[in-house]
Symmetry: C2
Subunit: 315 residues, 2 copies
């Protein structure tokens, strides 16, 4: 490995000048800078992050804390990790997966936390190191998420455009922020069109949504679209409609919200919001690293939703 000293010798300067070229280039004359750059190129110099870390007493470790149970069959966290790790590796940081339990074991430079609930806010706010939450929240903590409200708003809008005349919202029975946002996206669309909102909430299990549709079939008129808060619920609704002999998408529409692998084996595939978790994870990592470097909040990062067309809305 070539070091600062090697470069310094080659460029005929002191190692401090080389260090400055890297960290404070404005404090070095262009002439010397060129010499140093040249030497760095010729020697293929890459700074030793370990030595740097020793000086700034940093750990180069970012902890990823997943506060909900991991369903390893879902690629969700795999993608999130992949995305975060991609950015971190680029900056020679490493990702450490921790649970609430072993959260405090070992030092680190910052945190990514996902699956946060209200009860977690208190201890998270007390953390001394930069934090970024994966998933929206209303407690003033910086986060990365899809624009949930815009997502259901757009899907509801699309459903109306396709001629469905009644919009029923099937939501998740939870107090989490993303659910409020998804509901309000639906509500806004419905209000703008002067329609009557119809909301139902269930735990996020397909069979509950399926049962609901099945049980209330007589009250469900033709030409209704179901705006669901998750793909799981949407798949349930889809099954319920099919079991009652309803036609999708001719008679009934269904939309979901990405987050579940099962959609890949559903038929027809749900029209839903496509979230690129990898990309979001990657951005999440960048945001956190910026926060660490600058020592100040970089704000939240909200991704605009993109509709993924399945076969559950008329085309």
């Amino acid at each position: 490995m070539t070091t600062l000293v090697d470069v310094a010798k080659k460029a005929n300067v002191s190692k401090m000048t080389v260090s400055r070229v890297i960290n404070h280039p404005d404090k070095v004359t262009d002439e010397l800078k060129q010499l140093v750059y040249q030497a760095m190129r010729e020697l293929d110099y890459h700074p030793n992050m370990i030595a740097k870390a020793l000086v700034d007493k940093s750990t180069r470790i970012i902890k990823l804390c997943i506060l909900e149970d991991i369903d390893t069959t879902e690629p969700y966290y795999m993608n999130l990790m992949l995305g975060i790790a991609k950015t971190l590796d680029l900056h020679q940081y490493s990702l450490q997966l921790v649970t609430r339990k072993n959260f405090d074991i070992g030092n680190c430079d910052g945190y990514v936390i996902t699956g946060m609930r209200e009860q977690d806010v208190e201890w998270i706010k007390k953390l001394k190191k930069p934090v970024i939450i994966f998933g929206e929240n209303r407690y003033g903590l910086d986060y990365v998420d899809t624009n949930n409200k815009a997502g259901t708003y757009l899907l509801a809008q699309l459903a109306l455009k396709k001629g469905y005349e009644r919009l029923i919202y099937v939501g998740i029975d939870s107090k989490e922020s993303f659910e409020y946002s998804r509901e309000s996206g639906y509500l806004q669309q419905v209000q703008e069109k002067r329609m009557v909102p119809e909301l139902h909430r269930f735990e996020n299990h397909s069979h509950l949504a399926e049962q609901f549709v099945y049980d209330n079939w007589n009250k469900i008129t033709q030409n209704t679209a179901f705006i669901c808060a998750s793909d799981r619920l949407a798949i349930g609704v889809e099954r319920g409609i099919v079991r009652r002999g309803g036609k999708i998408p001719e008679g009934f529409g269904v939309t979901g919200f990405d987050g579940v692998f099962l959609n890949q084996v559903a038929s027809p595939k749900i029209t839903t919001i496509k979230q690129s978790i990898i990309e979001m994870g990657s951005a999440c990592g960048e945001n956190l690293l910026d926060k660490i470097d600058s020592n100040q909040s970089q704000g939240s990062l909200i991704f605009e939703p993109k509709i993924s067309l399945g076969g559950t809305l008329r085309s």
Copy 2:
């Protein structure tokens, strides 16, 4: 953070003595050792891995190189990463995910490579740092894998014990070592029982196996069990039998080999070999770290297969 010097002061010794207590305890008298241990406990001392790494010019990075395309819907690699990362984190190493393309970017202390093919052997053997292959091979490279041969051997044995009289092997059309091993496990069982081996090979897609069963239904006698090289193929066989009206497990048996999430939604579930990828990944990490520390091969690690009973063999 407390340092060596803090501990040294508290114990009234030089920092070198403290360092020795950690790395060469036999070179320090018991008396001093007790003092030092006491001080370390009182100060909750944890060695700074970064400083250590600077001294031994190590990076504390292990690269995980996945040579096949990642199917992010499969929890396989998620589990592998989780397993490796678990061990590495314990030893304050970090895991860096690389592809063949960016393999050489950045230094590291060792490699875990998976999805290796024959053409990869050459460059892998040239690597200067310790390597461990995830997945068996016959090129003398240390690896971690399930005992593939024992797996099919046991499944074939079980099928015979359950009274199936004919065993058809449905394998993967590939030259990879694990496939040879799975075939030979089947063959050995068949030879021991003086039966006639029947082997067929397909690409690892369920519909190919399904088509095969469907097309050859007239040649498939009642009381046959299919020993398949993968769950994917087993699911295909299962579907083929069902489409032809065959009864599983009464008339026909099917066994797979773990590796596919789809089995979780198959019905009935395939009787297969259960591989704990997390555990194997974890062992893989330990093996590699030992290799790095000792600077010599730790040999391969072969996990004995465990049968996971589904509903595709008579009980």
